[in-house]
């Protein structure tokens, strides 16, 4: 599996982009040329220069530094969202798919209710109820997304539940936990990895969208969506302000989506000609 992934050039390039972004984000103080909060009002809207490689924003803060520091909330909050979503979705999906009957009914009706709400409105509602805060945004995202995962995982579990090795385990009276965590979870994990990669893109966009609307990460914390939001105020006079955060979001989201596609190819054992 790893060898197939290793041979896939697209996957390797995308992993490279994502890894590089992550490393720059983690070691932001080493890479950022300036303090991301330092205001220099005399230099506001400075064009690209050696001192400020991507110019400065409306308060004269270095955009490159803010972009670099902005990786932390953008990437890590979306990762956090995905971890939360997947863990709740997996537990619920496994329970529903394996035990069926009444547990399945209860969980799936809950899922049906969750899925019948428009997701964006749900996020707004949750944030409006709990207050404007990043934590609430993540909570809201997890809250609307787990149902979708639970359904996907349930379907996958049902596919593997009647394979002979699971039947054998049940026949000889092995523990349910062994069947769930050693047989079923590894079987569904590859498909889950693909889904999760594709959905990180969604999470990044969603957090950026909410920050853009002023519901997510709050000023002065640097975040790509929030930076885009500030840039839109001067769209007509300084359009170049939008380029850096906009392009960065596009590249990162695209990288995750391409990686998801590549993973799907690499993990599908029937696809031989890679």
């Amino acid at each position: 599996m790893w060898r197939r992934l290793y041979k896939n050039k697209m996957a390797m390039v995308m992993i490279g982009i994502i890894l590089m972004t992550t490393i720059i984000g983690i070691f932001a103080p080493f890479f950022a040329p300036h303090d991301s909060y330092k205001i220099n009002i005399l230099d506001k809207y400075a064009p690209y220069s050696l001192e400020y490689p991507l110019g400065t924003d409306n308060l004269g803060r270095c955009i490159l530094s803010r972009m670099i520091y902005g990786i932390r909330p953008t990437l890590f909050l979306s990762l956090l969202t995905m971890i939360g979503t997947i863990s709740i979705g997996t537990v619920m999906g496994l329970l529903a798919g394996y035990f069926t009957g009444i547990i399945d009914e209860i969980i799936m009706r809950m899922v049906d209710v969750m899925l019948s709400f428009p997701s964006q409105i749900m996020v707004f509602a949750v944030v409006a109820l709990l207050g404007v805060d990043v934590r609430n945004v993540i909570l809201a995202n997890v809250f609307i997304k787990w149902a979708w995962y639970a359904r996907m995982i349930r379907t996958n579990v049902m596919k593997y539940k009647d394979t002979n090795y699971v039947l054998y385990s049940r026949c000889i009276g092995n523990k349910e936990s062994f069947i769930l965590f050693r047989h079923l979870l590894p079987s569904i994990s590859s498909e889950m990895a693909v889904l999760a990669t594709l959905d990180i893109g969604w999470a990044i966009l969603n957090i950026s969208t909410l920050s853009f609307l002023g519901l997510g990460v709050q000023a002065p914390t640097p975040e790509w969506g929030a930076m885009l939001s500030e840039a839109k105020n001067v769209l007509t006079t300084n359009p170049n302000q939008m380029i850096a955060p906009g392009v960065a979001i596009v590249i990162l989201v695209a990288a995750f989506n391409f990686l998801g596609d590549a993973l799907r190819d690499a993990l599908d054992p029937k696809e031989k000609n890679l």
Partner: protein, 248 residues
């Protein structure tokens, strides 16, 4: 050893005529059987006769609608489709260790697993360095031997074979059957052998149950096979005799 009394099984029909209808398609009708310790019984029937369903009832994967089952001692199973009967992500040693850890738990003892795996592989006639292999790196016969090792590892009183050798070629079938006979003698096991293949039954079993459309229509000792009375059993028997006579 194993006693089944008037087992009835039905499945919910998917194509019910009524909305919310609960019609059932009955698969097994009043099936009763008894298997003695150390016996090898063959369940013979065509596709759809309910023999696999009966197998699932015996090993407790399905609950019958009515009737009682009584199985003494642990029971183990070997499936027909060896490609899916082992987890493709497990190595041979992990596959066998699953049974060993269940045995540890039920008998409350400690087992030297590595040693025991080696011992079991030797028993089923596989080289010891197979422990690190994955199922897709084995041939059908080898994987079926691993499945047998896994079933024996549980130290069961009974092993159920659900078409366990049907998907192997003739030569491997004979090898596996000889292996099974050896193991049976060594551990004094009871075998329930589900199959549609009469020849392997005659090679192997003491007693045969003919299953036809969910009913046990005939029960005979292998030595008395020539004296079957039911039409289905006769036709099955004659079809084989026919092939044999054609060969001459």
């Amino acid at each position: 050893m194993i006693t089944l009394d008037k087992i009835n099984v039905g499945f919910r029909k998917e194509n019910t005529t009524k909305l919310f209808g609960k019609e059932k398609k009955q698969v097994l009708f009043d099936v009763s059987m008894h298997v003695n310790q150390g016996e090898c019984i063959g369940l013979l029937g065509e596709s759809g006769s309910g023999k696999s369903t009966l197998g699932r009832i015996i090993c407790g994967l399905l609950k019958p609608d009515s009737g009682t089952i009584n199985v003494t001692g642990p029971i183990s199973i070997v499936f027909q489709d060896y490609t899916t009967s082992a987890n493709p992500r497990f190595t041979v040693s992990q596959i066998i260790k699953e049974s060993l850890s269940v045995r540890e738990r039920t008998q409350g003892i400690k087992i030297e697993k590595e040693e025991e795996v080696q011992h079991l592989l030797e028993l089923v006639g596989l080289p010891k360095d197979f422990v690190t292999r994955y199922p897709h790196e084995l041939s059908g016969g080898q994987l079926q031997r691993v499945c047998i090792a896994r079933a024996v590892a549980l130290q069961p009183k009974t092993i159920l074979f659900d078409e366990a050798i049907s998907s192997l070629d003739a030569h491997t079938q004979v090898q596996i059957m000889d292996l099974l006979l050896k193991i049976k003698k060594q551990f004094n096991l009871t075998y329930v052998f589900i199959t549609h293949d009469l020849t392997s039954v005659t090679y192997f079993c003491d007693r045969v149950l003919f299953l036809y459309q969910g009913r046990v229509v005939e029960e005979k000792k292998v030595t008395d096979l020539a004296r079957v009375e039911h039409d289905y059993a006769k036709s099955l028997l004659y079809s084989i005799v026919d092939i044999r006579s054609n060969e001459k």
